[in-house]
Symmetry: D2
Subunit: 167 residues, 4 copies
Amino acid sequence: MHALASAATAALRYTVPMPPRPETDPRYDARVRESFARQRFLHAIGATLEHVAPGEVDVRLPFRADLTQQHGFLHAGAMTTVVDTACGYAALTLMPPDAAVLSAEFKVNLLAPGRGEAIVARARVLKSGRTLSVVRGDVFALEHGEERLVATMLATMMAVRDRGLSD
Amino acid sequence: MHALASAATAALRYTVPMPPRPETDPRYDARVRESFARQRFLHAIGATLEHVAPGEVDVRLPFRADLTQQHGFLHAGAMTTVVDTACGYAALTLMPPDAAVLSAEFKVNLLAPGRGEAIVARARVLKSGRTLSVVRGDVFALEHGEERLVATMLATMMAVRDRGLSD
Amino acid sequence: MHALASAATAALRYTVPMPPRPETDPRYDARVRESFARQRFLHAIGATLEHVAPGEVDVRLPFRADLTQQHGFLHAGAMTTVVDTACGYAALTLMPPDAAVLSAEFKVNLLAPGRGEAIVARARVLKSGRTLSVVRGDVFALEHGEERLVATMLATMMAVRDRGLSD
Amino acid sequence: MHALASAATAALRYTVPMPPRPETDPRYDARVRESFARQRFLHAIGATLEHVAPGEVDVRLPFRADLTQQHGFLHAGAMTTVVDTACGYAALTLMPPDAAVLSAEFKVNLLAPGRGEAIVARARVLKSGRTLSVVRGDVFALEHGEERLVATMLATMMAVRDRGLSD
């Protein structure tokens, strides 16, 4: 009980709300949805956008047999695809209109096998800088009405300008 | 407001309380403190143990000029030393008596320069397995009575047995 | 010239040959190929096994429009899928017959956009331990007959036993 | 034998020599040495600069009892301090005169306990971009005249301008 309470307090402290940035694109929601719609790989695997807010994006992926690895679990690469995408768009929600987003790097820890009806990746921005954003993304598996943390990402996203890319 | 509320909710969901593990050493608190006292490097840099609970350890490091890098900020290596230590001991609090803890790997994102009066590294276990534990550690700088997130670690800690090591 | 020579020397020094491990499965080649054939996600995206040797696996992925992200480049998730797979099987080539392999964690740095005719991921084991293996994987894009380094992975792979999994 | 030969070939291919960049500071060597001399934490732990070339920096740290963790091995934080520094300066050797270098993030895998007479961290740049550089750093322990790979880092370094920092 005590451990839970103090962990919850600490966690609240970590989720500093993103300061309203004057240069943020007010069209961030439409922008993320339009860019997501151009992601052919996400369409191919069946991922959908579940939630978009300043500094936050959730992406859902229903379990499918053609997304599995050799033991029948969801492939770590499929999990990475959805959580990387969620982290990138979470960063984009806070960027100015002239910036596009690219993944610079990410790390993923796999905590439990991916199985169940679906996974949902929830990305939250820890820091939104002019060039680099740092984003945390947690992946939950949904099974029998319960959520279980199965992977977590810590990612660095980059705002790019003047390269002929747009989001 | 809305963004904050939903981030806080999400964060709460992430901090799954550690299930009480029957094999956990009931002497975890004394064990962490005794092992910490044997860490000569931590003593040399002036770090102290601030908080020990199941799945949680905080370590504090007062700012000192001989811990700085070339621009006068706290060296990333000094920050890493304290947050790695916090993550390792957070994992150890949930391990059985016959296991010692070693860092297998970690990633650190540096979010802001380390300056102020002190830093405190807060580690929380995300998963405690028989061999591997996954731990998140956030580093806050304390300046003028405020806390600012300056770095975050995502680490894999290993329980080792039968290697002549003890904690 | 001088820089090249010394970098090459240093690189040679890094590629410590894997010591022949008495417990390694002599059937490692067939084992990797059979396990790879059960990877439904890899089959779906069109990846193939190119090279298997002790401590080494290469996987190839021809470029396809349905594997792209919003700017038309190969999705980072697709790159991660192939290099994670190459790293896992490189670790498996050195494991005993009773172990299966799971990804514990990985980090990927994306160096250049993924475009061209195909990518090839080349994984080389840095350390093969009883439980954990550390593997480096480089991803090259093949374009107009040239290879360009577009991503690099540093991964921790885990040998699992007694969980009802086999490779 | 065959495995060694092919690993060596692959490794050579990875160490693409850094293209001579017209904007690189021709004073890179003096610049790295002067900046290193201002690193108070490195001086405190006894680290020295061993090698500076375009895209390459080596840093050496003699073993000292006050740098150890609870089992008497070199603390992972001390190893990280020297390899982070080597990676940062390796990136700086290829930057223009108006840029300073900051660590954006790094990942370290610990392969073997740090013991012996000294460690040496060898950093080599994989990619030098206008803003971000990706650098690999290997840490070797020197014991009884032999070198053993004990840790490896994969790091993202950032060129910063207009922040009042200089190197």
